[in-house]
Amino acid sequence: MKTHIAGGRLVDPASGRDERADIFIDGSEIAAIGKAPAKFRAERTIDAQGLVVCPGLVDVAARLREPGLEYRATLESEAAAAAAGGVTSLACPPDTDPPLDEPGLVEMLKYRARNLNLVQVYPIGALTHALQGSKLTEMAELAEAGCVAFSQGDAPLPDPQMLLRCMQYAVTLGYSVWLRPQEISLSRGGVAHDGEVATRLGLQAVPAVAETIAVSTILLLARQTGARVHLCRLSGAESVDMVREAKASGLPVSCDISANHLHLTDIDIGDFDSEYNLVPPLRSSRDRDALRAGLADGTIDAICSDHTPVDDDAKQLPFAEAAAGATGLELLLPLTLKWADEAGIALVQALSCLTSAPARLLGIPAGSIVAGARADLCVYDPSQSWLVDATRFRSQGHNTPFAGYELRGRVLYTLLGGHIVYE
């Protein structure tokens, strides 16, 4: 199949390219950019006048809920959601049921995803058995099965000793360790930021210091072990400062935030609205502004969807009992564009947080548009505004804090390996 994407605005953060250029696809690869290769006869031409053509998005955190949690979502539904969101590569955390701590589970997931052929799935393996924090997993076997990094998901490690051993073992084999920083003894039972909202509503708090203490411990141990550490879903202003300082001192650390935390604060919880029950909790506007500043100055590397489909019943409970999380694959791009608009960030920089940067973090061949590369592309209309209606999501999860928001930027085509997987 030969495809010609004609007249679009090509934005490729990896090369810094932002110009009007045609793309010629032959089979699964990009054959040429700008000028058609000799004797190129397109079987399909996509008119991209007025549209943006960028690398397919790379999401570093999307829960597909398989294996084990199929009542919440299936690989079919969530892969379709990814395609509809312009996401062509995604990393899924190991917090499935059972967790991704066995090569067989990882192989099965990869195999099922490959057959669906809607999105490239890169599993993140469990750091410890059953995520229980007591026994290391067979990381080499898991990596062979397809794991690109190792993580505890949202499960805590019991103490710094175990964290140290996880890092030492991972660095021995050359794997990166992905950690969501949260000191469990300071956060147990908590569901909201320890600010005015939690005080007024009588919700148990997760203080910001629960995150900063963990960030501090992780950075100290990373320095000692030389482990490559990625911090997942930062939420607090001080955490961003600590990572900025660590990066300046040369530590090979990276971090991401969720698109939800780029826009929302604890005030949005309003009248105990469980759609805003997220992990980590939404914090103050000062924290949100610090996350935005951290993204703008490059301290924060990537924006992820933190896609967490939840069944309706699990949200229709008192706030603290409701399942945490929001579905996000189909909102990742417009929420990022909304931030870029509001903060006056150049498109090429904003899109780097969704393409080249996360691809580099995962160490995967994705996130750029060059001749000879796999044709994973996202074509979107930057001017089209649309109203978020959760019932129209491809995702099985209809839980979103953004229902009713008017967002700009609509994905029109998603190509995976030259194949149109969404239009």
Partner: protein
């Protein structure tokens, strides 16, 4: 928050979930209405027909004696049919969800739900899902709110102190876990009390308590100085086990209301307690039973205040 979840589209009180967000006039209206019911409760025949034919469901997901009983008495004095459900021991333990329980009881033509729940916000969730003619009264949810308790406390303060501006009120004890304290603070600030103080060790204070418009004291002598009203909070047994406080003895020594500590307050100060009291932990018996104590009148007024709330919600006052 788009609109106050307690008010219907025409601004009338549809549910009583929290004191926060209610205008001063609404609180005063409840207090005025309650005053008219005090005389009813003192009569020989203590019934009025305002809620005749209505069904009030007492839904207690958490045990309670005093609050449930006073709600029951209040509803009966308004001639309502009262159904007491001890939900903790029935459907919820069989796995039924909160909203399914509510849907089933609604199908039995309930007119009013009086809800106590261990989770903050549970009554708000229920209020969002009941039909338009069903009213929800929060009888205490988690650490969030206990609005009828705060209203009966305001009634008591007004009864003894006549008006709110100019008063200094101190709330003493476990503010962190207390729904009563939160509702009292909102009620006192809404009614224009000059100074609301909270007195507690830092382990029993919520993170952003000053944002509620209170002054924080950790020392009883300073905090009680010249106050007109002292409200003591109950200290739950599980809070004294060492994590938050070393012992009941040390707590009593520092924060228990003894005659010596009470002497720092205004000589005409009244002493209140939402009950049930831990004598010798947060309050000395000689104070609890002393001349400045209004703890038992609080209970009596509680019936009139709950009658007022129910009749207002039912559109009868």
């Amino acid at each position: 928050m788009s609109r106050n979840p307690q008010l219907d589209s025409s601004g009338r009180l549809a549910h009583l979930l929290s004191i926060e967000g209610l205008p001063r006039e609404t609180l005063v209206h409840v207090l005025d209405t309650a005053r008219s019911f005090v005389s009813v409760t003192e009569r020989d025949i203590k019934k009025v027909p305002l809620l005749r034919g209505k069904s009030v469901f007492n839904l207690f997901f958490e045990p309670s004696t005093r609050t449930r009983t006073t709600f029951e008495i209040a509803a009966k004095r308004l001639s309502a049919d009262v159904i007491n459900l001890n939900v903790g021991s029935s459907s919820q333990s069989k796995g039924e969800t909160l909203l399914d329980t509510i849907a089933n009881l609604s199908a039995m033509h309930a007119d009013m739900f009086v809800v106590r729940h261990s989770q903050s916000g549970a009554p708000n969730l229920i209020a969002r899902h009941v039909g338009p003619n069903i009213h929800v009264i929060n009888a205490g949810d988690g650490r969030h709110a206990h609005p009828t308790q705060a209203l009966l406390d305001m009634f008591t303060i007004r009864h003894y102190k006549h008006d709110f501006p100019g008063l200094r009120v101190a709330i003493v004890g476990d503010i962190l876990h207390s729904r009563v304290a939160r509702s009292q603070i909102h009620a006192l600030t809404t009614l224009g009390v000059a100074e609301v103080r909270v007195i507690a060790p830092a382990t029993l204070l919520p993170a952003a308590v000053t944002r509620l418009g209170v002054q924080v004291f950790t020392d009883m002598a300073k905090g009680l100085k010249d106050v007109d009203v002292v409200i003591m909070l109950r200290l739950q047994n599980e809070r004294m086990s060492g994590e938050l406080l070393p012992s009941a003895q040390e707590y009593f020594k520092n924060y228990g209301l003894s005659p010596e500590k009470l002497a720092h307050a205004d000589s005409q100060a009244i002493v209140m307690h939402p009950g049930p009291m831990n004598r010798g932990v947060e309050i000395d018996s000689s104070v609890a039973d002393g001349t400045q104590s209004v703890i038992l009148p609080q209970v009596t007024f509680g019936i009139a205040v709950r009658m007022a709330v129910m009749s207002i919600l039912a559109g009868q006052s």
